[in-house]
Point group: C2
Chain length 134, copies 2
């Protein structure tokens, strides 16, 4: 973040919550599948733009999280959008390795509501997480 003052005006245009965060949705740029949801702070979004790969802010670990830093399943940025209230980010990405979820599935949204009041995992595990996180 060595840029000159004022050059981050595009970050100032966003509405950050009281914790300095903004929700971020990652969508497969080709298929349109929603792959995951996470949070960003200013630094995460700035680094995402700088590096061309998705960087989130891990609320549980309290630090930046370069998606794929352990798994290799990075997300290459194709396009970044924001919504009408400037308070949600949508990343259109290429999912390296085809797996976004830590469970080894393509998308984190693999549980579907069934009419009888149950959630069911409906998408396959593509790779054993033990093989992903060695």
């Amino acid at each position: 973040m060595s840029a000159a003052p004022g050059s981050n005006a595009w970050l100032d245009e966003l509405t950050w919550d009281k914790d300095g965060l903004i929700p971020a949705i990652a969508q497969d740029a080709e298929t349109g599948d929603v792959l995951m949801f996470a949070w960003m702070n200013r630094d995460a979004l700035a680094r995402t733009v700088e590096t061309g790969e998705a960087v989130y802010f891990s609320r549980s670990r309290g630090k930046l999280w370069h998606k794929g830093e352990e798994s290799g399943h990075t997300q290459k940025i194709r396009e970044i959008r924001i919504d009408c209230d400037n308070d949600v980010v949508l990343l259109k990405i290429e999912q390296v390795g085809g797996i976004a979820c830590h469970t080894g599935r393509r998308s984190c949204f693999f549980q579907r509501y069934l009419a009888d009041g149950r959630w069911e995992a409906v998408d396959p595990v593509l790779k054993d997480p033990k093989e992903i996180y060695k």
Copy 2:
């Protein structure tokens, strides 16, 4: 919410934040376009399932918000998914009227980041908001 105790076990499986809310993403079931992002409380999600139309919780107004109640642009539920942490909801919907955004655009995510550090509205207004909200 007149259901017998215990019948909302599927709601208990979700992780609600300290305000009792969960993020919700609405995606066009046909095209895969991400149309909007909002929040739900337990009652909103229960009513969404009961009515087959998206009901959110408006944080600004502090009450349930049946999407389209003013505009007529309701969202018919095709599928409901949750993510691996049970703390984000993904609605696959049919957008009645083809307009999800209060600006009269199809999607709320109509602003794209340009390489020179600007956000630009890149999608057309399909209908004048004055004609939507009379």
